[in-house]
């Protein structure tokens, strides 16, 4: 009886095995597909890894080039400021000369009036003096020149003020450089992670700028006075509070 039981168990087990083989037969193409996929994916992952490594190695050159741009623009701005200084000095020299001419003209006018009085009884001489006065009125030329030089000086000064853009763009570029360097750090970590098959996620939101960094990541060249108005309001508020404190101290 025991033998019959054993045989029936054996047949059951063989049936189970048959079922497993049937599943196996069905699973084999799936497993084969998975193996093929892995075979295709590995070179792809290796390519990605190589690309990241290559990109990472190029970043120092990129940051260096950005730094060079800042240096070049600072040099160019300095040259412009040098030229502006020369122009300003030339304007000052010209203005001094004009000022001397205006002073001389006043003196010449006094002499001219005295001469006119001297020749009042000589119609011919008087007529000549009037003709001379008509063609020799230097003030008519000097007055617009004074205005013109003032305008040039004002324009030159406005150019100087506009050059603040160099400092602001330098800070923006420094912020970009910082960002690139942070990305490099993350990418380098990613290359290492690939090798240990533990891929971490590159998250740009974790890239922080130190509070005491030598640049302002939010630097903007804007003519808007919105931020200045905020600053003025806060400074006024602070001053008012300080004054109130002083009054309180006096009466306490």
């Amino acid at each position: 009886m025991k033998k019959v039981t054993n045989l029936s168990e054996l047949f059951e087990k063989l049936d189970d095995l048959k079922t497993v083989f049937r599943y196996g037969e069905k699973l084999i193409p799936v497993i084969q597909g998975l193996v093929d996929f892995m075979r295709d994916t590995v070179p792809l992952l290796e390519n990605i890894n190589t690309s990241i490594a290559e990109s990472t190695s190029k970043i120092p050159k990129a940051t260096s080039q950005i730094h060079n741009i800042t240096s070049a623009t600072e040099l160019a701005t300095t040259e412009i400021l040098d030229i502006i200084d020369v122009i300003s000095n030339d304007i000052s020299t010209a203005e001094e000369s004009i000022s001397t001419l205006i002073k001389n003209e006043k003196e010449k006018e006094e002499i001219f009036l005295a001469m006119k009085a001297l020749v009042i009884n000589n119609p011919e001489a008087s007529a000549l003096l009037i003709r001379y006065e008509a063609i020799n009125n230097v003030n008519l030329i000097l007055s617009p020149l004074v205005e013109l030089f003032e305008k040039i000086r004002s324009n030159v000064y406005n150019i100087t003020l506009s050059l603040q853009v160099q400092d602001i763009t330098a800070q923006q570029l420094a912020a970009v450089n910082h960002l690139i360097e942070s990305v490099q750090e993350k990418l380098s970590a990613l290359v290492i992670d690939f090798e240990v098959t533990n891929v971490s996620v590159l998250d740009s939101s974790t890239i922080q700028v130190a509070h005491n960094a030598a640049f302002d990541p939010n630097a903007r060249y804007s003519r808007s006075l919105d931020n200045q108005n905020v600053a003025d309001a806060l400074v006024k508020d602070q001053m008012d509070r300080a004054s109130q404190d002083e009054i309180d101290r006096i009466f306490s």
């Binding site: 400021l81 100087t160 603040q164 200045q228």
Partner: protein, 126 residues
């Protein structure tokens, strides 16, 4: 009393622009520093400095750290400080005011604003 300005900015361009603007306003006495540390060194050596115009973002010692250092030194704590910076957000301005800056200009500045702030500081000081 003649004003002797200490202009502190790591940007040579900005130092020149500020100095040009001050010259246009009729001032002629300036000292320059490229960062907060250099500024403190100059302040230690030059007791004639009686007005400071500083940037915020600078290497080594920032403008904010410079103000804190000035205010904690009884010998120079009285010197007025005007901050000229790109940092225009409210929190930054409050931080500078907490550090006891006398007035605050957001870059890019205009000569009118520079004149106004200097005059405000001098009016309070007198």
């Amino acid at each position: 009393m003649e004003l002797r300005f200490l202009i502190v900015d790591d940007s040579m361009t900005m130092r020149r622009i500020v100095i040009n603007s001050l010259r246009n306003l009729g001032y002629a006495n300036f000292v320059e520093a490229g960062d907060g540390k250099e500024a403190l060194d100059k302040l230690a050596l030059d007791s004639a400095i009686n007005f400071i115009i500083t940037d915020w973002n600078m290497p080594i010692v920032s403008g904010l750290e410079l103000i804190k250092a000035i205010r904690s030194d009884p010998k120079i704590a009285h010197i007025p400080v005007l901050m000229v910076t790109t940092r225009g957000i409210k929190e930054d301005i409050i931080e500078a005011l907490k550090a006891k800056v006398n007035n605050y200009i957001v870059k890019p500045f205009t000569p009118h604003i520079l004149k106004e702030k200097i005059e405000q500081i001098l009016a309070i000081a007198s």
